[in-house]
Symmetry: D2
Subunit: 357 residues, 4 copies
Amino acid sequence: MGRRKSRFLRKPVEPFVVEAGLSADAVLERMERISFQGRNLATARRIWEKMLASDATIFLGTAGALSAGGMRLLIAHLIERRYVDCLVSTGANLYHDLHETRGRRHFIGSPTLDDAALAAERIDRVYDTLASEDEFCKNDEWIAAFVLKLERRPYTTREFLYKLGEQLWTDTGNNGILTAAYRAKVPIFCPAIADSSIGMGLSQARHRDQTAGMADVIGDIIESANIVIRKPSTATIVLGGGTPKNFINQASVQAEFYDDRVGGHKYAIQIVTDVPHFGGASGSSLEEAQSWGKLSIESEKVTVHSDVTLALPLLLSALESTSHDLAPRRKRPEFDPSGRILVMNGQPLADGKFQEA
Amino acid sequence: MGRRKSRFLRKPVEPFVVEAGLSADAVLERMERISFQGRNLATARRIWEKMLASDATIFLGTAGALSAGGMRLLIAHLIERRYVDCLVSTGANLYHDLHETRGRRHFIGSPTLDDAALAAERIDRVYDTLASEDEFCKNDEWIAAFVLKLERRPYTTREFLYKLGEQLWTDTGNNGILTAAYRAKVPIFCPAIADSSIGMGLSQARHRDQTAGMADVIGDIIESANIVIRKPSTATIVLGGGTPKNFINQASVQAEFYDDRVGGHKYAIQIVTDVPHFGGASGSSLEEAQSWGKLSIESEKVTVHSDVTLALPLLLSALESTSHDLAPRRKRPEFDPSGRILVMNGQPLADGKFQEA
Amino acid sequence: MGRRKSRFLRKPVEPFVVEAGLSADAVLERMERISFQGRNLATARRIWEKMLASDATIFLGTAGALSAGGMRLLIAHLIERRYVDCLVSTGANLYHDLHETRGRRHFIGSPTLDDAALAAERIDRVYDTLASEDEFCKNDEWIAAFVLKLERRPYTTREFLYKLGEQLWTDTGNNGILTAAYRAKVPIFCPAIADSSIGMGLSQARHRDQTAGMADVIGDIIESANIVIRKPSTATIVLGGGTPKNFINQASVQAEFYDDRVGGHKYAIQIVTDVPHFGGASGSSLEEAQSWGKLSIESEKVTVHSDVTLALPLLLSALESTSHDLAPRRKRPEFDPSGRILVMNGQPLADGKFQEA
Amino acid sequence: MGRRKSRFLRKPVEPFVVEAGLSADAVLERMERISFQGRNLATARRIWEKMLASDATIFLGTAGALSAGGMRLLIAHLIERRYVDCLVSTGANLYHDLHETRGRRHFIGSPTLDDAALAAERIDRVYDTLASEDEFCKNDEWIAAFVLKLERRPYTTREFLYKLGEQLWTDTGNNGILTAAYRAKVPIFCPAIADSSIGMGLSQARHRDQTAGMADVIGDIIESANIVIRKPSTATIVLGGGTPKNFINQASVQAEFYDDRVGGHKYAIQIVTDVPHFGGASGSSLEEAQSWGKLSIESEKVTVHSDVTLALPLLLSALESTSHDLAPRRKRPEFDPSGRILVMNGQPLADGKFQEA
């Protein structure tokens, strides 16, 4: 025809071709040239690889019933192999992790079970997954007993969760999120700890001793921002939205308040089922985050609209194939989360104040 | 034919008939006999009326960008007229309320605005709604200054938010969620305060004085459970899911641990956009909540799958028409949230411990 | 500060203020200044008013279980009062309308009923709504008997549905979608008639007489495009997405192929629960539709993400208050859908061909 | 404790363990013991294997922009290797398949492109995917020219699409959905053909010759039911919902009307993003389908709530690994879809009537 091809029509969609024996890596590679959320998942792998190749401090946020749903060893793996540097989690994910690390289990059920029958047997349902309420009560007591062993002073959730992981590791030697973070010295923040069974365990310790169980969640805000100020090259990976998503962004916004070099996360991946058009934070777009300075205008970013249980196994199996050796060797921050003051790259972060430039 | 009509086919759907001049009350009344989420919204009104006619302590949970989105005076109204007895909120809803109570505004925008242009002008976007980041920074500073005026000791969010509401009312005399709760002596809990700009304000006070800004969120767990133990007849209304939804349920579960008379909430309404099948708490069904004992097996309950901004104006306009006089006169708890220990019906709740039977 | 206010921050959000006795009209008016889907619903009313004030031919598309769910008299009202000029519907909505126009009912049920028990009693469930399968079978037979009375030749669904409405009106004198359209001479297209119980009725007529039951759905494409060509000022209102949404857009695209004056719909409202990011047509954005020329680049448009049963009663109650007298008097096309060739404004559309300029 | 373990708590969730080099088969196998939609996808593979091991006639329904989105060769593969026996599709999926089989392409774009700029260049956007409108117009003309070569009589979509696939194969020798179905003699039904560009091509043929382009979609209803009556052991796999989902169910319901041996599909898989609680057919639950008799009460079934582009590549890569040899050798129906009357297992189905027992 002689007409020049439009600048918009440069890169064709390549229909996915199936073969027996394809690796997860190959499946996800072929998905890079399809459309919609399949392509977005494949893009997420490539952006994660770029994070690993950069010098960015990588935050991981985990919300939703990931641990109950069979994702806890994937998250432990990300921590252990240092695909990520800092975890921000809901309390529930840490609690259900502790449950299994302590040798208890979640069970396969169905969403159509009779909840009155379950209640009669003291079984708690999470959609299609079940657990024993009596075992949960014993976890709470175990946590309370642990809390009562601690020195009586406020603890950031970061310090508290490190010690909890240490105790769990000592007691069980089992792998899990909390124990992997303890061993890899990856800090965990749990800003909404009061809305979880870990919080309930803390409150039961308080019940027995009114000087126990003080969580310093405001200290967490300062520490998380100081991580960004200390090294203003950061990345965010969000699984499920919720408080972790915003807390990770807040760390950057708060850091920028005290240090102009901070300019938002440089890379962002979110895997969420929520949508932007109802205005809530869980579903908010990564573009919207740029207006706030949570993400840099130049950031590389992708949203995958999917259930994490469906997306994560394929994503991490493929990522592991290309990055198994790279991840532990990358340029990354080293933390010591064991004390009252978080230590980053050998130096303590400022004590109770934002690190000023 | 001679066949008896099935027991299932008793109550016909009545097609909605439109007329000019219908009141909100009449619209919602006609929706009781349609189907799907329209019927559910109409049912929510009737269940709320039953709550009001009962002796239940009514918890309200608010998550999502309700205050930024124009819902804050509806929530203030629910508090002021005592349609509810206790608020559990995300920090964001309280913060955006404070922003407007202090005379600042949110603005009408569009989801297709250029976020780089917004960032350049320091304008923050919440889907189709905008605000000035500079004004937000001033709010943070105002909060920090207020915090620095407080005695140096830990505060439950309940006590802190009461005092914040008091200060706001003194400064502005303006209506809003925080000021209405202050005046009506309705306690507010904010379990995830660390994941919000109110938490950022607290952290900025800490920055200036390391002895300031200690939020005792574990104390909140105890107090909220004690409200249930003191009077084990409770109801839950959840707007948007999130941490408030679970915190209200946790109060009941934790209370039951210490007092066998507690048997889950007796009434439940939730207006959520999230769905059950991804396993997260925001979308979890009220049936699932029964397996945990969060709701009584006999509870009256309804889920409305809708954006709150679409559902709430109609729901409350209709409810106001039938319950304007009833709500303030109903059998309800009276609180004094002004001190370190929450007072309920003239008696202090247990200090730092769960109220035991 | 002396700083000029940003051009983005011009129009503040006005928090919704509730009062007893508010009319639906007042509720929706107050929702114009809130955010998210509540604002979008309020905007939809204003765009509909603009459609009515213009000379546009207004297409209405209806998908989802609207008739079973109690919306059929709202749609009949829109037709009768000429808020719309042409209906495009799924077969199911017309079939469930016919069911009730023939004096049968749908019934209020629950989504948690035992489907095996329902099947045993031959009761069909649509989420929380029930109907008798035996009554459905009788409808199918009634339709088949009607079809066998027709002259043996192909019928566009437009002609067929007109005659079906006529028969229903003669038999019952009852109001409904089909009978209102018959009486108001509003054409109805049903492009996916083969995927519905009306199609099943046609097929049962064919079973008895192999020369009966020929639906000419390709003729429908031509006729619907000719409506646009005859007067290239059009508007689209979509409830629920599905085949009607695309068919209305296709009419404009196909019309433009034959007549350059056609430039896409000038106004567009869609109330859908589906979302854009999975790539399907039901959830596709109105912006995307502009790339195809389905909508004019200058069109006024709004998407409301909501269940229709929740949004439509309020929307139409408010619209009726402002437009009750206006709608029937507006500048609108007049159709005669009774014959083989559709007549528009007194002149037959081209016979079996696209109307060329 | 001595307490017996609850019957509900038998099968523990097994946390997913990642390894480098995992095959798609192994990834999906490990997902069988996790929760939520990840588990459902893994279950879908096992149910599909049971379909293949049974004697069931397997219907596949395809809706949503699957072909534009890179899924067309997966569907072609399912047809060619006889993982399925009969396809029911939206017109769009067949049209976008034809576009690529004819050597044209879809292109990788973004959902944030400027639609006015795209419209100016005559580029059509499907969320993040683009195509040339001029090339689409040429497809329409190609279809119209093909239609004009056909004998002037009504064609079921099944017969028409077979001949279209034949012509495409003759012209191009390229693989795709239509050409694979032609070569494998797998019938395709397109009940909503009038709502698609294939329908537009038919209408353009009619425009040139008023005796051309007659699609007999009512005949499709009879043929699809006769397939079920001839062998009342059937299975349904639905990708995306829409008209194909209901049409496949309708075939079973209509068949049962004429033959009591028919008792609903024996196996069912659906991968949909839509949800049940708005009442529409796309999102309706498989349990609800049982109330109608669309599925047998004893059927094995699973719903996967996911975008097809994300779920299908993994599902089919895993299925291929276990079933590559099995699928083509299974007990399956053989069709001859080339003539006016569909031939099944060597015998013509009844001509224009339902096959009676």
